[in-house]
Amino acid sequence: MFHASGSMFHSRRHGASGFTLIELLIAISILASMFVVIAASLKISRIAQQSAHQALAYGIASSLLEATAGLPFTELQNRATGTPLGIFPPHGTWEVKTDPNARSASNTLALTGTSTAISGISGALRIPTNAFGDFTAEAALKVPTTAPSGWSAGIVFRTLDFEHFYRYSLKSDKLLLERVQGATTTELWSQPASLATSTWYRPKVAASGANFTLYLNDTQYASVSDATYASGILAIASGGGTLLSADDVIVSSPSSLSWNFDTTNPGALPAGWRRPWIQDLPKATAALTIADWNGLSGIKKITAQVQWKEESGIKTIEITTLRSRY
């Protein structure tokens, strides 16, 4: 380049213009080096990302299968819907958001994207505790003014999976306790109420044995009995396709735990609340299917499939196991 610059002066003096071949070659070499470095780095970066995606996808598929291992054979009914069984992963997109109207300043836990409703659940996130039989739990909940007319928000409890749980819901026109058992939803109790959007409500459930005491804003509304599910996990859930904000989540028994989300950075989730699942993969779906193996109803073929999208196309991880009645 030093010589080339000399030649430039030389050319100018002689009235010539443009670049010499050597100048052009050097410029092309520099540009090519830059492109090679950038392309190689991007490629390696993509490979690293894909391997992380694969590991997570394998973990999800394996979890879907593992969750069925502890279920009795009679629970393994043929299914093509893909709904997970024996596991209650996050549903929808959840993150902490700054909300000037947070119940306790300044952050809330927000459902920022709903998913296809399963058993009426458009979004759900497990409260990070063990499964409880007896407990007392409450959460401040608020739906936005843009909520669809059929909105619901509440606490699901003694949850085994998306087909086995109790749900204490707040709706625009009533309070409601339901039991979901497979495809059947049974109303255990309801009471007319007029609830508004963009307003904080604080539902609370106290469960003891087969008895459930239901509160709203510290006022007891009902005491209901049902012995179908003895234990399960707790979660915050929305229904009717609505987004949801939650704040001041409190589990006062059997452990004393509470979250106000104020020390968590917006966009993240507090420690323990994040369960890596398909929301951590690009455009992913996870499905569990069960079918008779070779037409034998005594042997079930259980398949867990996770699909996600990479730049190179759709990737799939599928794991299959057989489970015998005998």
């Binding site: 380049m1 030093f2 010589h3 080339a4 610059s5 000399g6 030649s7 002066f9 030389h10 050319s11 003096r13 002689h14 010539a16 010499t20 050597i22 520099i30 080096s33 830059m34 470095v37 950038i38 780095s41 390696i44 970066s45 690293a48 391997s51 992380a52 590991a55 997570l56 973990g59 999800i60 394996s62 979890s63 879907l64 593992e66 969750a67 291992a69 502890g70 024996g86 596991i87 497990r126 990070p128 505790t129 063990n130 499964a131 409880f132 039989g133 234990s231 996990i233 059997p254 452990s255 420690a271 323990g272 994040r274 369960r275 890596p276 699942w277 951590d280």
Partner: protein, 223 residues
């Protein structure tokens, strides 16, 4: 006079030859010499400044290429190392849990007391001898725990029964833990039959903090 004329012609020829060389190759060192000879002067200040500026630009571009290269590959190697650490940790948890007989609520392992909870998992595994035979009523104990003093570290420690083929060990599974939680399907942990494990490993590079989220649900085979 005749001698002087020849001498002048000779100089002119030399000068033309040098000019031709410069115009053809642009690289010949005599280019600069010929300039001097022609005008009887060196480089002008502006020529020197432009040359220095071009050199500086080339140096900056080259340095930038190497710096970018260094940063990118540094970042990538950190990412890969973090991922590997996460994979290793989750596979160790999977391996230990799959072979476990039950979850223990508490145990003293190699002289240290542990309790199963959200950041600690204690498992009891059937002891096997070197030939792979089960040792009746003898059990090894494995603890997986997040270091309480340095939360980025995930350790596993094993205490073995007499005659067991396993070895008493303490191993670091990952030192990039950002978040780890064990959740059980029974609040009495020793009665739990299912464990949900969420592990997020991450490590800051100069440019970003890439994270690898990993998830695992394990159903205990022999509760």
């Amino acid at each position: 006079m005749k001698h002087e004329t020849r001498s002048t012609e000779h100089k002119t020829r030399n000068s033309d030859a040098a000019r031709n060389t410069c115009s053809k190759t642009m690289l010949h060192a005599s280019c600069f010499m010929s300039n001097s000879r022609r005008g009887g002067k060196g480089f002008t200040t502006i020529e020197l400044l432009i040359t220095v500026a071009i050199l500086a630009t080339v140096a900056v571009v080259t340095a930038d290429i190497f710096a970018s290269h260094y940063l990118l590959f540094g970042s990538l190697s950190t990412t890969l190392e973090t991922e590997r650490s996460g994979f290793l940790a989750i596979e160790n948890i999977r391996g230990a849990t799959l072979g476990a007989r039950r979850i223990l609520g508490a145990a003293t392992i190699n002289g240290v007391p542990y309790s199963s909870g959200t950041s600690t998992l204690i498992l009891e595994l059937p002891a096997v001898d070197i030939s792979g035979n089960l040792l009746p009523a003898l059990y090894d104990t494995v603890v997986l725990y997040r270091d309480p003093t340095d939360q980025t570290k995930l350790w596993t420690e094993t205490a073995v029964a007499v005659g067991s083929a396993r070895q008493t060990t303490k191993r670091l599974l990952s030192d990039f833990v950002q978040d780890l939680i064990f959740l059980y399907n029974n609040n009495t942990v020793s009665s739990a039959t299912q464990v949900d494990v969420s592990l997020i490993v991450s490590r800051a590079t100069r440019a970003t903090t890439p994270e690898t989220p990993l998830s695992l649900t394990i159903d205990l085979r022999n509760p």
